[in-house]
Structures are given as structure tokens and as C-alpha cells.
Symmetry: C2
Subunit: 462 residues, 2 copies
């Protein structure tokens, strides 16, 4: 009996049109990472459950997809064995799970492969992750993360590099962005100054929701969580800052530079801002002292990227951490990382019509099939066109021309070449330009020359 | 407490050196697929269990990784609830699993997205699959498959295209190969001729093991399975064939062309061979009538690819099928597909030393860090070199030069640029070529020109 064809809830199929767009984005990401000295790694989708458990908070733990122990031993116990025994078997053998993000597996990777890596180690990683979340519009149970990290150095030049990478990638994509920056030590200094340093974590968790619930919402949450009045004052202070990067920095310096953390954080920020300004990349950067980033492991600069004029949420983010690998027993390995939100970047480019024409089509030329003899002839020519880099296909069956032209139209193939028996005899073929709606007759050499030139022009443009 | 850093048995981390090699191979695969009009798709790692069950035989079913139902409801039932109830809950809710191959998900994809696709639909797909197999050397529980398929046409030009793709890919990789071809209908004709047509399936399953267990092994298995003497005679006949493609084809024609299946299969083979010969791609092709391919769904031409002079097993394979989507309710959609074995191709290139030098290194140039002022200066130059396409990084910390040069050596970085305070004043920098062990002094413009030229040369070579 036939099974119904459907994919699990919260997952999706990626069709060619979407894939070609994603590959366009990923190509720019990878090229930029490489230009800054990053190299790719991959980790397995399956991790030991103990590697993941306890790293994402209680809520996160619940969303980890666990994999049933191997083989039929367990299935048998469940179907036929003693129920109590089956339960115990499962509980004791539930050992593997699907990765929940790329950060914890990367930390595990660094510790495990420590001796094979050269530090400072710069890697990028582009792989799917899984979360047993309630699926909703735009929220999937399986989605890609694109991360770049450096571990093994606390140099602030890396903050500068990552801002440069953000600027380069989105400039190549043609998407105007703002990179928001803050510093966890500045936030710490702030809570010290306002006398709520003991509530630092609760303060940042509430502050992190500013985008979603607004100022009043954060105030309400802080009150409900029983935070002291100082927290509300600190919130009012940072939310009230405005002006250029230098201006808000000065206002903050006046307020918190006598606190140890505040001073240290502000110095680092000033270094990064000055370097960015010298390197001509400050134009994408906004100091935003309300930025919190919910994750506990950040200890230094934190970033968040938004597309200008789009209601999309963040399309990237990251920050510096002191001790990500400590959980796996390797202490004092500082690092910094950023990520890109592939799905949202795709949405943003789509919405702004920023995908170049090349991403809409695959094949450059379709050879019409008039029968075996003609098809063989066409195939010989196709081989030569492919040598020139032209994506060329023969329609597989000698069906009505209308059907073949339909196929070209639907697939967005620009050129169609007609080689019938008469054309073969004459040595002159009809080339249709489906985009311009024109056609002309030309010989094999002329054809090859025409596309050799157009390929060279294409390369010259890049 | 620190967790131990280790990955699950049968999985692996891919380090940069390995990843760069894999990307080199995948780039050639993708470029070739694209040149023949194929476009990428992806399907989710998670499929409904019912989509996968019953498609891979009993043995296959046992190797499917099942995923525990979502959320803590089940975990709670297992830890705290009634054991019997917990067991039933699991049995009734075990609904999702990790994909076992790319073929069944592709069939599901085609049926589900039928209305959005243009037929004949040509796709390639490069994604990991999971099998709960016993791990051993070179056999992993998580590994990549690279497939290309066309569905919606039974034109033999596609057999010709796929042989062309195999030839092109391995010629670009520099790896000599043989593509073995047979045809399921020829095998059918053979069993008819030898009077064992009712044991066709058992015959092909046994024949499929020829590579592993040898002729005597297959004979033994056929006897043990109770196959009639005809099966042994058929085996002896095909194993005894030798000579050029045309010669073995003629010998077989003489023997089985009066059977309906045999005749049909031989005609198709002849068409493919003739076309390949006309297109200059017969040189990689070997007719091998002992080739069986274990999978039941093949109905026409079948292929297997081996690297010449390497004991590796097959590095690719595939074949034509009539009705892959029938299991999901869409009848009469013929297709053909091939796959590439990424891991084995990588092993083969490694063993023969065929990876080009560019795959061993990431960064082209390291800027030595002498302190913040010098680093800023270096970073400005780095930005310009990146504009030229040069992969350039600044060593993040101003540590001893030896340590920085060590890093360059270990990462295989060819050029190192020294910009100290004196060099900044003079406007003349020291460029070390770590490969040639030489160094020279040059100014910024001279440097940019030198690498602009060398980048252009690099492109010109491709």
C-alpha cells in the first residue's frame, strides 16, 4: 500500500529556486570567512546526550531531540518484554541526541581535537541544528546555523575583524545593515553603579526582551521579578541615551567609569570603535547599551545585526566569551564568535529584490530534441559548450517542440538551440533568445565563439 | 563538573584539512551537475517513520535511527509514570526517524512537491544520512551521500549523460576510473535463457556478492539457496565473457537475444554504447554482465564506478528505475540516478596524491603583529589585499615573532608580511616567502601590484 507523502511538522523541503538563493548567500559568507583566514569544520549531527544536557538551561534541555538506542534490542524490549524493564533499559541507554546549536559541539570539538589544532584557531561551520520546539510560521525544528569563531586569543583585533566581516558580507549582498554593539562588562558596571550588581543575570535576561516587549514590558518584568528600583533606574538611563557613538560613549563614561567592570568594558569598546573608524568600517556600527544577549557565556563585547527598514528581528549576532571550553575540562581558552541567520537573510534579500538574475536560473541553454540523429549531433555541441562553462542540457525526449519550449520557459532557460535535420545539413542552427524574444541563424563555430565571448565577459565583471 | 569531550561511536569530526579536501571534490561535483542542467535540493534529516519503514528490507528497517517523541511529556512518563503506559505511549508515538538514504526521501519529495516541479526534473542532493550500523574502519553511522537523478523521462540520453558526468568529474579530479555497466533486463533474459527466471531475485542477490566472495563464493551461495543448476550455468557464462565491449555484447546477443527481456536490454545497451562512442566517452566504459546491484528498484541500465589500481570498492553507482514514486502513490514516473561515494573518493585522491596544493592551505598571507599601531597599519593593507581576493589575516596578539612564524608554518601560510615601526616610517615592508625561504623589501603599491598580478595569473590558469 502506498504511504502518504508528507514531511514531519516543523521541517521543510528546499526546492531548487530556494536552494540556489541559499547557495548564493553561503558562497558570499564562505568567501568572506576564507578571506579573513577562517577554515571550515563539521561536527556530527549526533552528539552524546551528556555533551548537550545542562548547557542550554532547563527550557533548552527539554527541546533536545533524543535518539532511540541502536538496533532492535530495544524495540523488542518495548514490544514484547517486561514493561518495567523496557523503561529502565531506555532510561539507561538514551545516550545520543541531535545537536541543538553549533556552539556546544564546537567547544567539545576544540577540547577533543586540541592537539591537532593550531591556535588561535579560526573556524567557520555551516550545518543544521534541531530543536523540538512548537513549529510556527518561520520557526522550524530543523534549520541551519552559520557560525564563525576564533578561540585561543583575547585580542580585540578579532572584534574589529568580525565587524569587518559583517560589513563585507552585507555589502556584497547589497543589504544595508546596522551592527549593534555593547559589552557585558559595561552592563556589569551599570548594575554596580545602580547598586543591583547581585541581580546582574536577572537584569540582563529582562533587558534582552526590550525588542520584543518594549520598555514598559521590561519595566514590568523587572518589577515582577522583584528587582530593586536601581534596576529600573539603570534601564531608564541606558534607554535614554542618544547621539553618535562617541556621544553615547562619553555619557556612559561620565556615569560608570569609576566602576572596575565599567571602566574595563568602556576601554575595550573605545579601542574597537577607534580601530573601526580608522579602517572605514564604523559606518555600520551603533553602540547600543540596551543590547544584552541572553546567553550567559558572553563576557565581553556582544553584537547584534539588523537589516535597515525591515521588521525581521536580528539577522546575526555574537560576542566574546572567556571560558566556553571549561565545561569540557579545558580552562582559560578565550574566544569570540558570530553567527548569521540564513533564513532571515534570505527573506530580507527576497523582500528587497536583491537576488541577482543568475540565482533565478540554472541551465543556460536547452538543445531541442528532434530525434536520435539530431540529438547526437546536439550532444556533441553541448559537450563543447560545457567546456566553455555553459550550462547546457538536451531535452531528453523527441516530443512536440511546444512542450520542449515550455520546459525552457518554466526553468527560466534563456537560450534554446534548434538543430533539426535541415539545420544539420546546412550547418546553420537557430538560436532563440527567450528573454529578448529574438532568434538568429548561426554555424557551430560562430555559436561557440559567441558564448566563449559572453562567458569571458561574465568573468570580467567579477 | 566537566563533561568528557567525546563524540558518539561511528561519527566523526571533520577538521579543516579534511573539509578543504571535501569541498574541493564537492565543488567539482556541483559544477559538473550544474553544467548538465541539474539543480540542488535538500530534504529534512527527519522523516516520518512511515515514509522510511519497509523501503530498505528487514535489515535496513533495523538500522533506521528513530527519534524520541517531542518534549518532556514522554520523558516524564518514562521516569515517573506507569511503565506499561509509558511503553505504549512510546510505541504509539514513535513517529520520526533520521533519513537512511537520499533516494526514498527524494521519491517522497517528488510526490509531495509534484505540482511545483518541472518535469523531466533533474536534481542533485548532497546531504548526510544515518544508519545504526555496527561502526568499523571506514564505516560510519553518519556519512554523506551525493546523488543526482532525473525523473519523468525514460530517454536513454540520460544514461549517456550520466556516463558523461562520471567521466567529466573524475577527469577533473585526475583520478582514472572505469564505469561498469549492465542492464537488469539482460540479467532477466539470462535467467530466462537458463530456465531460472523464477529465481531472478535470488540470482541477482547472489551475483551482487561476486566482488566480495569471488566466483566460488557465489556458486556456493547459489547452491545453498537451492538455486537450480541453470543459475550456476548462467553465472559461469557471464563470468566467462571477455573482450572489448563490442565483443562481449556480440557473445551475449548470440546467447540471449531471442528472450524478450534480453533483446530489449541489449538494444538499450547498444544505443548507449554507440552514443558514448560517438561522443568520445566510451573509453571509461566497461560492459560487465556480472554486475547486479542489490537494490530491487532498478529496472534498466545499472552502473558501478571503480578507481583504477585501487582496492577501494566502488566509488559510485546507480541505475534506471521505472516506478520509484509508486510507493507514495504517484505511478509511472520513470527515472535514473547515480551517486558518488565522497569518503572513498577522498581516500583515493589522498592515496594517489591528487589533491592540488591549494587544498592544503587556507590563508595566503599572515601579517605579523608588532603592537597596536603597527597592527592598525597592517589591517589597512590587509583590507586592500582582501579586495584583490587574497586571504589575509593579522596575527591577533603582539607576541614573539617566532610564535607568529610558527603559526604561519603550521597553517601552511606561504607569505608573511613584517610591518614594524621602522618599516612604517620607511614605507618599505619585509615580505617573507615561507615556501621558497626567501624575503624581500617592498612598498605598499609594489606589494598590491605584485599580488594583483599573481591573483590574475591564478584566474588565468583556470
Amino acid at each position: 500500500m502506498a504511504s502518504k507523502a508528507s514531511n514531519p511538522r516543523g521541517t521543510r523541503d528546499l526546492l531548487p529556486e530556494v536552494m540556489v538563493q541559499r547557495e548564493y548567500i553561503l558562497e558570499i559568507l564562505k568567501t568572506t570567512f576564507r578571506k579573513y583566514g577562517f577554515l571550515p569544520i563539521e561536527t556530527p549531527a549526533l552528539e552524546k546526550l551528556e555533551t548537550l544536557t545542562g548547557k542550554y538551561g532547563e527550557e533548552g534541555d527539554r527541546l533536545i531531540f533524543k535518539v532511540l538506542p541502536r538496533g532492535d534490542k530495544f524495540e523488542k524490549a518495548f514490544r514484547e518484554g517486561d514493561a518495567q524493564e523496557a523503561r529502565e533499559k531506555l532510561n539507561h541507554n538514551l545516550e545520543e541526541a541531535l545537536r541543538y546549536d553549533l556552539t556546544v559541539p564546537f567547544a567539545r570539538f576544540v577540547v577533543q581535537n586540541h592537539n591537532a589544532l593550531h591556535f588561535p584557531f579560526k573556524r567557520y561551520q555551516i550545518q543544521p541544528v534541531w530543536r523540538a520546539d512548537r513549529p510556527s510560521k518561520g520557526r522550524y525544528r530543523e534549520f541551519y546555523q552559520c557560525d564563525a569563531d576564533v578561540v585561543g586569543s583575547s585580542s580585540l583585533w578579532q572584534e574589529v575583524d568580525f565587524i569587518g566581516i559583517y560589513k563585507q558580507v552585507f555589502s556584497d549582498l547589497g543589504l544595508p545593515i546596522r551592527v549593534k554593539m555593547n559589552h557585558r562588562k559595561v552592563l556589569q558596571g551599570l548594575t554596580e553603579k545602580f547598586g543591583v550588581e547581585n541581580d546582574f543575570q536577572a537584569f540582563t535576561v529582562a533587558l534582552d526582551k526590550l525588542d520584543k516587549v518594549g520598555l514598559a514590558g521590561v519595566q514590568k518584568e523587572m518589577s515582577e521579578r522583584g528587582l530593586a528600583q536601581g534596576a529600573l533606574d539603570a534601564l531608564a538611563f541606558v534607554a535614554g541615551l542618544s547621539g553618535s557613538n562617541t556621544e553615547v560613549l562619553s555619557q556612559l563614561e561620565a556615569e560608570i567609569s569609576e566602576t572596575t567592570s565599567g571602566k574595563a568594558g568602556l576601554e575595550e569598546i573605545r579601542f574597537v570603535i577607534d580601530a573601526c573608524s580608522e579602517l572605514g568600517q564604523e559606518d555600520v556600527l551603533d553602540l547600543d547599551f540596551t543590547l544584552a544577549r541572553g546567553l550567559d557565556y558572553y563576557t565581553g563585547a556582544i553584537f547584534e545585526v539588523k537589516a535597515v527598514d525591515l521588521e525581521l528581528g536580528s539577522i546575526g549576532g555574537g560576542g566574546r566569551y572567556d571560558d566556553l571550553t571549561g565545561i569540557f575540562g579545558l580552562k582559560d581558552l578565550p574566544g569570540i564568535g558570530i553567527s548569521f541567520g540564513l533564513d532571515r537573510i534570505q527573506l530580507a534579500l527576497e523582500e528587497k529584490g536583491l537576488f541577482p538574475a543568475m540565482t533565478h536560473s540554472g541551465t543556460d541553454m536547452l538543445m531541442v530534441n528532434f530525434g536520435d540523429k539530431e540529438a547526437l549531433f546536439a550532444n556533441k555541441l553541448a559537450a563543447q559548450l560545457r567546456e566553455l562553462g555553459l550550462k547546457t542540457e538536451l531535452y531528453p525526449d523527441a516530443v512536440k517542440m511546444k512542450k520542449q519550449l515550455d520546459y525552457a520557459n518554466k526553468k527560466g532557460i534563456r537560450y534554446v538551440l534548434l538543430i533539426g535535420s535541415q539545420e544539420m545539413e546546412e550547418g546553420l542552427f537557430t538560436l532563440k533568445d527567450m528573454q529578448e524574444g529574438s532568434q538568429r541563424k548561426l554555424g557551430a563555430i560562430e555559436l561557440l565563439e559567441a558564448f566563449n565571448t559572453s562567458q569571458n565577459n561574465k568573468h570580467a565583471k567579477h
